[in-house]
């Protein structure tokens, strides 16, 4: 059988087999990595469902955004900087076009600034002032956004409107330290714990839904690629054996069945 396998025809097919096995192995590894990326998505969903933590326990000022903490439920305690509030957009919520109201919160524990998306407005003619004094904001954490062109014809609230929450720009405008993260505010309460009602015309922005991946699908694909690679090897072996059995030149070969 070995002598048959060394024929040029079977050696050529063996080279092809090696290529197929290498390709199937790589494709399987690729699917395995996709499955693991989806594992990260699951981790993000867990972060969202985790017990709320104080923002300073999750991220430090200037620290790069910790990806697995995206959507993490956080509580931020501080004071809103009403004079630095601005609109971001245009954005869509529930099929309507409007703007996010972003107000910097000076976090008491660290003195650093945290951008807070207080809500969504469709009417930009009347500014929505943030609550004065110490506030406690419950919401979910999100990483900064990619740069986007500022919208035109939108009033300053009181700062000029922006296209996105881009910390590379905000770091120039805000004094002191800042967090590379922002919060989608869900509820606000005063320093004494009394709930602050949502201002008229303002609608809370729900945190982005984490698209849950089906890890097992990609894991199954990985397995299927490897099985195909193994099957190609089996095909080669079977064909060489058939040939060896048929070959009259190898009559009397001790390896023949």
């Amino acid at each position: 059988m070995l002598r048959t396998a060394l024929k040029p025809r079977w050696l050529g097919l063996f080279a092809l087999l090696l290529v197929i096995i290498a390709a199937c192995t790589q494709l399987g590894l690729w699917q395995l990595h996709v499955a693991q990326d989806k594992g990260l998505a699951d981790a993000l969903r867990k972060a969202h469902e985790a017990r709320p933590a104080l923002v300073e326990a999750v991220i430090r000022p200037h620290q790069a955004f910790p990806n697995p903490q995206s959507n993490r439920a956080v509580t931020a305690i501080g004071t809103y900087a009403a004079t630095d509030q601005f609109l971001v957009g245009p954005r869509r919520l529930g099929g309507r076009t409007g703007y996010w109201v972003v107000t910097p919160l000076d976090v008491t524990a660290t003195g650093a600034r945290l951008a807070v998306v207080r809500g969504f407005v469709t009417d930009v003619s009347r500014p929505v002032a943030p609550p004065a004094g110490p506030v406690s904001v419950d919401g979910s954490l999100a990483p900064g956004e990619a740069p986007a062109a500022a919208p035109s014809g939108v009033p300053g609230w009181p700062r000029p409107a922006r296209g996105s929450i881009d910390f590379s720009l905000l770091v120039n405008d805000w004094r002191g330290e800042l967090y590379n993260a922002f919060v989608f505010a869900q509820t606000e309460s005063t320093g004494t714990g009394a709930a602050i009602p949502v201002p008229a015309g303002l609608e809370r922005v729900p945190p982005p839904a984490v698209t849950g991946g089906l890890k097992w699908r990609n894991a199954a694909y990985a397995l299927q690629w490897w099985v195909f690679g193994g099957f190609a090897a089996f095909m080669w072996f079977r064909m060489v054996r058939e040939d060896a059995l048929r070959d009259p030149a190898l009559e009397g070969d001790p390896e023949r069945e």
Partner: protein, 112 residues
């Protein structure tokens, strides 16, 4: 091509091949239907559930082709060609008619 050596096991392999050709043809239709309804690849949902199952059915189809092919002495290019029919809608049904018919004719000729 030489006569079929083992008609009994060939008939079994032939039945297996015919069933898998029809199954993989249907599985491909279901997959395409789901993708059309979902409006594209990678949308998750039903296609996420069905595509690995389709992959598995296709693999068994490939095995059934090899199983029959070795018994009736098909060449490697011929087997690979039949395996590739599993990627094209309707073609597995054609492959089933064409190659199962051919094998049946040879089996019938061998009996005489």
């Amino acid at each position: 091509m030489s006569d079929i050596k083992d008609p009994v096991s060939t008939r079994k392999a032939l039945r297996f091949f015919k069933v898998m050709a029809v199954l993989s043809g249907l599985a491909l239709f279901v997959l395409i239907g789901i993708i059309v309804v979902n409006g594209g690849f990678g949308k998750g949902g039903a296609s996420a559930v069905w595509s690995p199952i389709h992959g598995l059915i296709y693999f068994v189809y490939v095995v059934s082709i090899a199983n029959l092919g070795f018994k009736v002495g098909w060449s490697l290019p011929k087997m690979v060609l039949i395996m590739l029919t599993g990627f094209v809608p309707l073609l597995p049904f054609w492959a089933e008619r064409r190659f199962a018919g051919e094998t049946e004719a040879r089996l019938a000729a061998g009996r005489r």
